[in-house]
Amino acid sequence: MPLVEVRELQMHFPLGGLPALLARLRGLPAPVVRAVQSVSFDVAPGETLALVGESGCGKSTVARCLLRLLDPTAGSIRYDGTEIATLDSDAMQPLRRNIQMVFQDPTASLNPRLTARRMVEEALLLHTALDAADRRARVDGVLEEVGLGRELADRHPHELSGGQRQRVNIARAIATNPRFVVLDEPTSALDVSLRSRIILLLESLRARHGLSYLFISHDLATVKYLAGRVAVMYLGVIVELAETGELFARPLHPYTRALIAAVPVPDPDSQRERFVLEGEIPSPMELPSGCPLRGRCPIEQPVCAEPRRSGKSRLGRYVACHRV
């Protein structure tokens, strides 16, 4: 059974200000931004599922729905069989020790006034009944595990490097022995040499504790290294979902092809596919009818104006394209 099951998740944000006022005066329905139109996926125990896509595709909104930092507009999120999309915050609280998150900005997500030790301990205070001695032992153990020695435990964030700060964030996330951790671009604020070490740390933690990750990223090279399966998002929908090796060897959806082709590779002789989309991502307030890639896709045909297909699943692979 999957650990996390997401079905037809939707997240719409109401627009305020002038557009809302004009719509009301005209008797039209209140305008909304459809950040997540309809998204379904599973995360198996011990699996890393990557959610990739460019700015504005809705990947971080999905993450925040899973953590219930947002109240989804519609759809279902099951964690270990329990429906959590509609739980109120009191009912959600006991589950939180199992569902944790590492944020993108290692500095902004730490409290500048607390030491590394204290921040990790806070997670234990909130979610466990450990006494002071046990908490201390657990904090030491977890900091050690993420590669922060005792001499760093009593430092404040400003006394730590960017890589060390992200290690504190990871320590805080795994302190309560969660089963599911959402990683929202955990390496994108880090320098090249630090990035590879954090990637290896995340991978070893997953292997050792059987963690499941939802790894949100726009960095396809890192995704290829870490993820078992990859879901590609565009304008609030998943356009392709496949096993990582398959996806990179044979991307089927035109958006996936374009995305992979755009990553520069450190090989001056590489002969890669040039597959370029027209224009830029449209605003989620003005979604095209039919396929979301309409107007940008190099293999577009009249059929693409028809309502978007829910996608075909074959051998565990999902592709939402009229032309594939």
Binding site: E54, S55, S161, D191, V192, S193, R195, S196, R197, I199, L200, H218, L220, A221, T222, K224, Y225, F248, A258, L259, I260, A261, A262, V263, P264, V265, P266, D267, P268, D269, S270, R272, V276, L277, G279, E280, I281
Partner: protein, 326 residues
């Protein structure tokens, strides 16, 4: 190709309460006319400080302690501030990492470009406006007439970077310094910005100094690559040589440390961290992270020496291994 820019023995330091931070330490590099040179390294390697030194924009507490920077044979250090201003922007243009903050938020983007033609080209308002629209089409901004009347906040990040490129090229510079021009942009937008830079560089004959930490960007864009580590140049080579026969252990480590989309690799992080630039050790600044280190490396800094034509490396370990191999 003749040398357009020649940096010799440049040292830049910043004074702090704790002491002197040696951000750039006796570096030399040249850029030939029309060439794309990639300047690579981790944060704190001195890439951006080098760019600022070229533009003579190092301000207190920073200071240029030694070295000369010649542009078209003229020592920029000898120019008056007024003469330097004629070069800055007009002959050497800068594209910075955050295009939105580099643009003026309260002037339309069209006006910002047109003003360059008036100031540097002496054109009338009408001609400047026409040239501005030409520039916006050159950098492939759709519907230039509409976009020209908009402000930076109304444009996407990729669009802002196109406007920056249009501004940089408006004065037909001979050297374009692009400091992390695609960092923070989405991959598909970034790819097109790089294509555009390369294409316009070739079209206008401008040389490009491309500063980046992304080896992929360098491989796909640069003709030649200069690798910096902790304020020192460790290797300089044509792009194919650098990726196929890297000589310096740092270059090798850098290439091995990154995940790749094009093949399956075992990623090996570079050991250690960039050393503190506050009273750095006298020898090679990579010594503490290096697998080839010997006593010699800690005592004296290895000089940049020629491997073959156009390929230079600063490493005693490499020399010893090469000599041993005969």
């Amino acid at each position: 190709m003749s040398d357009l820019l020649e940096i010799a023995d440049l040292t830049v330091s910043f004074d702090s309460d704790a002491g002197e931070i040696q951000a750039v330490d006796h570096i030399s590099l040249t850029i030939r006319a029309g060439e794309v040179v990639g300047l690579v390294g981790e944060s704190g390697s001195g890439k951006s400080v080098t760019a600022f030194a070229i533009l003579r924009l190092i301000r207190r507490p920073g200071r240029v302690k030694s070295g000369t920077i010649r542009f078209n044979g003229v020592d920029l250090g000898t120019l008056s501030e007024e003469e330097m201003r004629q070069i800055r922007g007009a002959k050497i243009a800068l594209i910075s990492q955050s295009p939105r903050t580099a643009l003026n938020p309260v002037i339309t983007v069209g006006r910002q470009i047109a003003r360059l033609f008036e100031l540097h080209g002496g054109l009338s308002a009408r001609d400047a406006h026409r040239r501005m629209l030409e520039m916006l089409s050159l950098v492939r901004i759709p519907d230039p007439a509409k976009r020209a009347g908009q402000y930076a906040h109304q444009l996407s990040g990729g669009m802002c970077q196109r406007v920056m490129i249009a501004m940089a090229l408006a004065t037909s510079p001979q050297l374009l310094i692009a400091d992390e021009p695609t960092t923070g942009l989405d991959v598909s937008i970034a790819a097109r910005i790089l294509d555009l830079l390369r294409e316009l560089g070739a079209k206008t004959g401008a040389a490009i100094l491309l500063i980046t930490h992304d080896l992929g960007v360098v491989a796909e864009t640069a003709d030649r690559v200069v690798v910096m580590h902790a304020g020192q140049v460790v290797e300089s080579a044509p792009v194919r040589t650098l990726f196929h026969q890297p000589a310096h252990p740092y270059t090798r480590a850098l290439v091995r440390s990154i995940p790749r989309v094009d093949r399956t690799v075992t990623m090996e992080p570079i050991p250690g961290a960039v050393p503190s630039l506050l009273d750095p050790p006298p020898g090679c600044r990579y010594a503490e992270r290096c697998g080839w280190v010997s006593e010699r490396c800690r005592i004296a800094r290895p000089p940049l020496t020629r491997v073959v034509a156009d390929h230079e490396v600063a490493c005693y370990g490499f020399e010893e291994r090469r000599d041993a191999a005969g």
